[in-house]
């Protein structure tokens, strides 16, 4: 059985042209397996966000191949890409990106509504998921009435409410204190990683490396190493 969720080969991406040209990705090879949490780490400007944007189908690559569960975004129309993302990909953002005028349940229901689920059913499912992430008592709260940790839980609930195969997280703990960040990663690990699901997390936060199955280190548009979480942390200590 093919257990590869994401396979990228020779992916390049350049922003701008002429003197302002920036080569964000310079030939990336990456594989993410189903059932694993892979972290992308590296300094600012190393290309992490560009890579997850391409992998999640929200940014076009210039060259190379990139398959997500056997599908290549390059061969899809805008509409097909949107539909694929809506059905198969969940997003967790650094600043949560919760719509401030919607309640927690309504925010969580958004991906279901995008996929055409009836509002009543979507809200019911959203409440179930909010219960699962431990904030079932805050379903009616607006994002502004929630703490940072609670907001990130809502964001995680939103990323998994439609049962996607692949979830991308961009700096999910950067706006949270250490303890809350730890709890959020525990939650992600607990509820998201399954045999048929994959998770890619972009992070700078070395305190959450222990949750990863593998860690890919990036620098200057290249992946310079991919290692097990334990080996990576050992190497980091030695360095």
């Amino acid at each position: 059985m093919n257990n590869i969720a994401v396979r990228c080969k020779g992916v390049t991406k350049t922003y701008g042209s002429g003197e302002t040209k920036v080569r964000a990705l310079r030939g990336i090879d990456l594989e993410v397996k189903t059932g694993e949490m892979m972290m992308l780490v590296g300094p600012s400007g190393s290309g992490k966000t560009t890579l997850i944007s391409i992998v999640a189908g929200v940014l076009e690559r210039d060259e190379g191949e990139c398959m997500v569960f056997g599908h290549d975004f390059k061969h899809m129309s805008h509409r097909e890409k949107a539909r694929f993302r809506g059905q198969n990909i969940g997003f967790v953002f650094q600043l949560f990106n919760l719509i401030p005028t919607l309640s927690a349940a309504e925010n969580v229901a958004a991906p279901l509504l995008i996929n055409g689920v009836k509002r009543r059913n979507a809200l019911e499912r959203a409440r179930e998921i909010l219960n699962l992430v431990g904030i079932g008592d805050r379903t009616h709260s607006l994002p502004s009435e929630l703490s940072g940790g609670q907001q990130q839980r809502v964001a995680i609930a939103r990323a998994m409410v439609h049962n996607p195969k692949f979830i991308v997280c961009d700096e999910p703990t950067s706006a949270l204190d250490h303890e809350t960040g730890h709890k959020v990663l525990e939650l992600l690990h607990e509820v998201v990683v399954g045999v048929d699901r994959a998770l890619v997390v972009v992070t700078h936060d070395s305190r959450i490396f222990e949750f990863a199955n593998r860690i890919a280190k990036m620098d200057d548009g290249h992946i310079i190493s991919v290692s097990d979480s334990r080996d990576f942390r050992l190497n980091e200590k030695l360095n």
Partner: protein, 384 residues
């Protein structure tokens, strides 16, 4: 997704109210000023509105509008009667004469002299007395607005007492007795309207060789009025218009030779600009403020069509509410000003026109926002 669109819109109370207020004021300005303009234009042919019996108005070819008085020889009525297709033709006098009020002040009045035999061309509604009372000696009928206002008797204590049946006044030094009070459509000139017989009007009027102003004509049954007008013009060399043609001629004169359309037009355009500037700008800002969330929805799988539908729904929502409030406020204004001198006309065509204007404002705002959302890269969601 409609639900999310509406919650996004309504949730941002300040902007939501700002957009609605902008559209409301735009709609109010456009509707109210246009209604006053239409009211004024309708008043220009108020006398024609009241005089419904004749099919055709015959006059001097140089006449440009209803109050452009260019007298004809009285024999012209006989020539008109001789034209084939004319059922009847009667003379009418219309002129401005000075009335001397009991307190010694003067008031210019619009005096209408009706055919002595038939009294054709009389007021549309009598409130006191009867039209046939004009056959009494020195009889006049006065309009109901003026009896309480411009022709009212000012008592020694300053109180104004309405003119009533039996009261007398002087019209160009001739005694006139009020025998009735009638209701007329207010006219643009707004002088008091006094009805009397044709022969008496020519006595009241200063002596001139020509005194008749119009010949009122009824076409024979089945006679096409446009063809009859053409025939009267050919036979008599006079101008002949149907009532609608004469109304249009009058409106055209006021549109062309007065600053009224420009003045009102400027205000209506200003209303439109205010709408675009305030509502359009606020709506666009609302979209910009939410661009990250539109990006998030796009990343999560919402298609461009879905997002455009959301924006259109938001625009339609604020447009409908703003338009409704604006038109409602204009209606209240119109109702409150109904008993004043202010002219106000609110036909369904005006409602449609202002709805179109508000739709254009909303469409312009929505297009800008939609353009922004279509060009939006969903990757924006990963920018902190």
């Amino acid at each position: 997704m409609n639900f999310i669109a509406l919650k996004m819109l309504i949730g941002d109370r300040a902007k939501y109210l700002g957009i609605i207020m902008g559209l409301m004021f735009a709609s109010l300005l456009i509707t109210q000023q246009s209604a006053i303009f239409l009211g004024l234009m309708t008043r220009t042919f108020g006398f024609l509105t009241d005089t419904t019996l004749p099919d055709i108005w015959v006059m001097d070819p140089k006449v440009q509008y209803i109050d452009d008085l260019k007298p004809l020889k009285e024999t012209e009525v006989l020539r008109v009667r001789s034209v084939e297709g004319v059922a009847w033709a009667v003379p009418m006098y219309k002129g401005l004469l000075k009335a001397r009020l009991p307190n010694g002040t003067f008031q210019t009045c619009n005096v209408v002299g009706l055919d002595d035999e038939t009294l054709i061309g009389g007021p549309p509604q009598m409130l006191q007395g009867q039209l046939s009372d004009l056959r009494r000696s020195d009889a006049i009928i006065v309009d109901s607005f003026s009896v309480k206002d411009r022709l009212a008797r000012v008592m020694p204590d300053g109180r104004r007492e309405p003119l009533k049946i039996g009261d007398t006044m002087e019209l160009n030094d001739h005694r006139a007795v009020v025998v009735g009070v009638c209701k007329v459509t207010r006219t643009f000139q707004s002088q008091p309207v006094i009805y009397t017989t044709y022969s008496r009007a020519t006595i009241f009027a200063p002596r001139e060789r020509k005194l008749m102003t119009f010949v009122l004509v009824k076409a024979k049954p089945g006679q096409d009025t446009h063809i009859l007008c053409h025939r009267i013009r050919q036979v008599t060399g006079l101008a002949a218009y149907t009532r609608d043609e004469f109304k249009k001629l009058t409106v055209r004169y006021f549109m062309k030779y007065t600053g009224i359309p420009i003045n009102f037009g400027v205000t209506v355009v200003l209303g439109f600009i205010v709408g675009v500037a305030i509502a359009g700008q606020t709506f666009y800002n609302f979209t910009l403020d939410n661009i990250r969330y539109f990006g998030t929805l796009k990343a999560m799988g919402a298609s461009d069509v879905t997002l455009l539908r959301m924006i259109l729904l938001q625009a339609a929502m604020v447009g409908s509410i703003g338009y409704g409030l604006g038109v409602g406020a204009a209606s209240v204004f119109g109702t409150l000003s109904g008993s004043t001198e202010l002219s106000f006309r609110f036909p369904w065509q005006l409602l449609s026109a202002s709805a179109t204007a508000v739709t254009l404002i909303c469409a312009a705002s929505a297009v800008l926002s939609m353009w922004k959302v279509i060009r939006l890269e969903p990757a924006i969601v990963f920018k902190s």
